[in-house]
């Protein structure tokens, strides 16, 4: 049970830093601002269940940056400075160090995200909107999962790299790929295939599944499928929300598991 000690120490060290305050502050400010704007600019009806569709776009851009920047240095900086060797002299295993780091960083992101979403939800409800509590709570759970996915990816990057700088480059590569260029690349692919005469404006199902594998798109799909009322995801069963949820969970566990498998065997000197 030493991961709790690691987590507690890591939270108290991370909360005080300026970068953590800044990142979480930007995220919270953006979410609360959206909650403030939504009743004026959003389409009718104004409810807490329709609000998630309004914020997912921003969340899929911001959460990757915040999650990764908060956690990319979790293990890599200790490894670079060598303090991880001291730490492992204590009765702490590599697994408990990783678990503790993950809990602390993912907890920070999730707490910031859920807290600001609650405040935004209150701003949606008062004075113009309606409260649809079960769906909103479901969305909070999904958003927390999305935060955990990106923190886990950050910790995974941190485990895979041996220095902070490499972890940062690797992490930015991942964020850049999935949060910045993915949608543009998919559009380019669709237009190219249409121009070549292979498809008529719509990607075939299998290809849609493939391009829908990015965490952001999965998050959008589960939000539409589970939260937004009177909306459903179209297409065959493998494009449905349950499959998307399963793949999202896989994103949270898979890369971290692979990176840990490598980390466990690596020489830390």
């Amino acid at each position: 049970m030493t991961w709790r000690v690691v987590a507690r120490q890591d939270v108290s060290a991370a909360v005080g830093t300026r970068s953590a305050k800044l990142l979480l502050g930007v995220l919270a400010a953006a979410v609360v601002m959206l909650g403030y704007m939504y009743p004026i600019t959003g389409p009718d009806p104004i409810t807490t269940a329709h609000f998630p569709a309004f914020v997912t776009g921003t969340l899929t851009t911001l959460v990757p940056f915040v999650g990764l920047l908060l956690s990319y240095s979790a293990v890599a900086s200790e490894r670079e400075s060598g303090s991880i060797r001291l730490r492992l002299c204590l009765p702490e295993s590599r697994a408990s160090v990783v678990l503790g780091k993950l809990c602390s960083r993912a907890g920070l992101v999730t707490a910031g995200l859920v807290g600001s979403l609650l405040l935004a939800g209150a701003l949606v409800v008062y004075p113009f909107g309606d409260l649809l509590l079960p769906r909103f709570l479901g969305f909070l759970a999904l958003a927390a999962l999305f935060g955990v996915v990106w923190s886990a990816l950050g910790v995974a990057v941190s485990l895979a790299a041996s220095t902070r700088r490499r972890a940062l480059v690797l992490g930015f590569g991942v964020v850049f790929l999935f949060a910045v260029v993915w949608d543009t690349a998919v559009d380019a692919l669709r237009l190219g295939l249409t121009a070549a005469g292979l498809i008529d404006g719509e990607l075939p199902g299998a290809l849609q599944f493939l391009v829908g594998l990015s965490p952001g798109r999965l998050f959008g799909r589960v939000t539409t499928g589970f939260v937004t009322p009177n909306a459903s995801v179209e297409g065959p069963w493998y494009l449905g929300e349950w499959v998307a949820l399963a793949v999202l969970v896989l994103w949270a566990v898979g890369p971290l598991g692979l990176a840990y498998w490598r980390f466990e065997r690596s020489d830390l000197s």
Binding site: Y36, P39, P127
Partner: protein, 272 residues
């Protein structure tokens, strides 16, 4: 249970200094002067006189209360005499209770004396219609003054940095007395996305928010006893139950007690 000694000493100190007498003179001049001058300003009836006096005290009494209270603890603490006091069998709690009681007496004795005189002058000049409940007005005024004594002493306990105490007390005065109505309107506007119709038709809960300002609570209490013009929004048709006079009473007591409790919780643990 030695707070009586502290309170007695505090009152004696104050009465030996010029401050208490200046306070008495100022308050007498203000309230009796208003009682005389009211006939040039408004209707010559007793409730109208009280209405004007409420407005006058609403702005001036907090300043006096804050001035009386804001140095109370920190002065002894920084000068070191608190060490001496606490080396006697006084606990910190006795010290604080004694200070609060002492400062309250220092503020309330001149206030009530001056107001009684003003009441007599007012009754003589404007008739005794509705003057029977004058003690209720005195009670409301005393509570209003105590709310700011509590705020000032609470702040005085919470830190030793003079600048923060000064800023806190006078900032508190500014926010709670001068700007409360504006703050309330601004909050409602921002929450309603700058839809100005909300100000004409305030939702129920925001009345309680507005009543939470000590000045508004004071006026609500005065309104409960007298037929004055002020605080009309709380007695209009359809006003919710929780802006009744007892809510105003509870809020004023909370303004007295909560800052004291917060300040004491810091003072009790502080290294002197």
């Amino acid at each position: 249970m030695t707070w009586r000694d502290i309170a007695r000493r505090d009152v004696r100190d104050a009465s030996r200094s010029r401050g208490l007498w200046v306070l008495l003179a100022l308050l007498t001049l203000l309230s009796v002067g208003y009682a005389v001058g009211h006939s040039y300003l408004g209707d010559p009836t007793f409730p109208a006189f009280l209405d004007g006096l409420t407005g006058l005290l609403g702005a001036t009494l907090p300043v006096l209360a804050v001035l009386v209270g804001y140095k109370s603890v920190v002065h002894e603490r920084t000068s070191g005499s608190l060490f001496l006091t606490l080396s006697f069998p006084h606990s910190r709690r006795d010290f604080v209770v004694g200070k609060v009681v002492g400062r309250s007496v220092v503020l309330l004795a001149p206030t009530l004396a001056a107001l009684t005189l003003a009441g007599v002058v007012g009754a003589a000049r404007y008739g005794t219609d509705g003057a029977l409940l004058y003690p209720w007005f005195l009670l409301a005024t005393a509570l209003y003054g105590l709310a700011f004594v509590g705020l000032a002493v609470g702040l005085s306990m919470s830190t030793t940095v003079d600048r923060w105490i000064t800023l806190g007390t006078f900032g508190g005065y500014l926010v709670l007395v001068s700007l409360w109505g504006g703050l309330h309107s601004a909050t409602m506007l921002v929450l309603h996305r700058f839809d100005a119709t909300v100000l004409a038709d305030l939702p129920d809960w925001s009345l309680l928010f507005r009543l939470a300002g000590p000045g508004e609570s004071y006026q609500r209490l005065v309104r409960a006893g007298f037929d004055v013009e002020r605080a009309a929004r709380y007695v209009a048709d359809g006003a919710p139950v929780y802006v009744d006079w007892w809510a105003a009473l509870a809020l004023l007591i909370a303004w007295f007690a909560v800052p004291l409790a917060l300040g004491f919780s810091r003072f009790r643990r502080a290294d002197l």
